[in-house]
Symmetry: C2
Subunit: 209 residues, 2 copies
């Protein structure tokens, strides 16, 4: 009973013994992503989830553990599928400036993409949450993103790409604040073009290399 969520016998390539699961776990998870993304952790009830995922409550609990464990998987899935553009830019672009510029421009598109909830799940899905661990986990993720910005900027300073007297932490916070503000405004109805104009203005703070 304790490790009911860990045991996923059906996933093994070999044939499992009993009756096989009648739904696709991956697509069910994807639907849960959309539900949590749109309404947040608390505002998405288990019956909302079962309706969106097309399965019964016992199946949900058998496949994912409980609501909180399902949300953790949802956040993970969201991170790899929708939220990885920032990490990718930080890793691929030659300079911190180019990386942040790309992040802001892509955020304008990502946060207003049609057919998906607007804004960022990590920023919004657990604000004002009565389950402290859930709120805490997303807070940790947000602060980790700020730290990633700061590391990239510090690396550029060390490499001589940016002035040595630059406040890497403050610059990282600024970039993070702009991203978070863009996400909020996307939720509040801003269009992609409006967010792109915002992003371009935000980029003018950077010292030209």
């Amino acid at each position: 009973m304790v490790d009911g969520a860990e045991a996923k016998p059906q996933v093994k390539a070999g044939k499992s013994r009993g009756r096989p699961r009648s739904f696709d776990r991956t697509t069910a998870l994807e639907r849960a992503v959309l539900a949590f993304w749109e309404h947040g952790y608390e505002a998405t009830s288990v019956s909302d989830l079962t309706r969106a995922m097309g399965i019964g409550a016992p199946s949900l609990y058998a496949a994912f553990g409980d609501k909180q464990a399902l949300f953790a998987e949802v956040v993970e899935e969201y991170g790899t599928r929708y939220g990885s553009f920032a990490d990718r830019a930080l890793a691929e672009e030659p300079t911190a400036r180019a990386a942040v510029a790309r992040i802001l421009r892509e955020a304008a598109a990502e946060y207003t993409a049609p057919g998906r909830p607007h804004g960022c799940l990590v920023i919004h899905a657990a604000t004002n949450c009565t389950t402290p661990e859930v709120e805490e986990s997303l807070r940790t993720r947000r602060n980790a993103n700020l730290a990633a910005f700061e590391r990239r900027i510090a690396a550029d300073i060390a490499a001589g790409e940016l002035p040595v007297d630059l406040d890497a932490a403050a610059l990282a916070r600024h970039a993070g604040a702009v991203v978070q503000g863009m996400s909020q405004q996307a939720r509040d109805g801003a269009s992609r073009a409006e967010l792109e104009a915002l992003a371009e203005i935000a980029m003018t703070i950077w010292p030209r290399t």
Copy 2:
């Protein structure tokens, strides 16, 4: 029954007829502000409220109507008591640039003030809310703030204080995004000094007058 909330006979200077209210409505409201500010609309239950306000549920309903009406009063009170620094700056400062600079600096202090919940109630208290009207009302307030920014900037452009080719809407969105990002980061544990450094960086985008 319909206008139970409107009738506040006790407030009239003249003596009311029956048994007087045994609690101070204003201080009870102030405590409700802090409760909603800290945990948001949905995550603050009526029993949380009665505990924080030191009154019974029937007294709460008699004095404020229902939870939603109480929240509306809370938002109003918050606006006049804690959230008016932006409007004041926009009205008092000679230029849009000075106003936004002051808003960002004051936000750093307001959003991290000790003894109060961090961040802004209007930005956070009704994200992912199952009561659409409540979420909508705060969204409207946020967008009204952006519009106020834009009007002030447009006025400066018209007065020759800012370049005529400036995109007032985008600049307003940027200022708003920075404020919203600062509020989010205050909730996530940023200190006043960290937010002040962020604010200073954000101000460097403005054309010097």
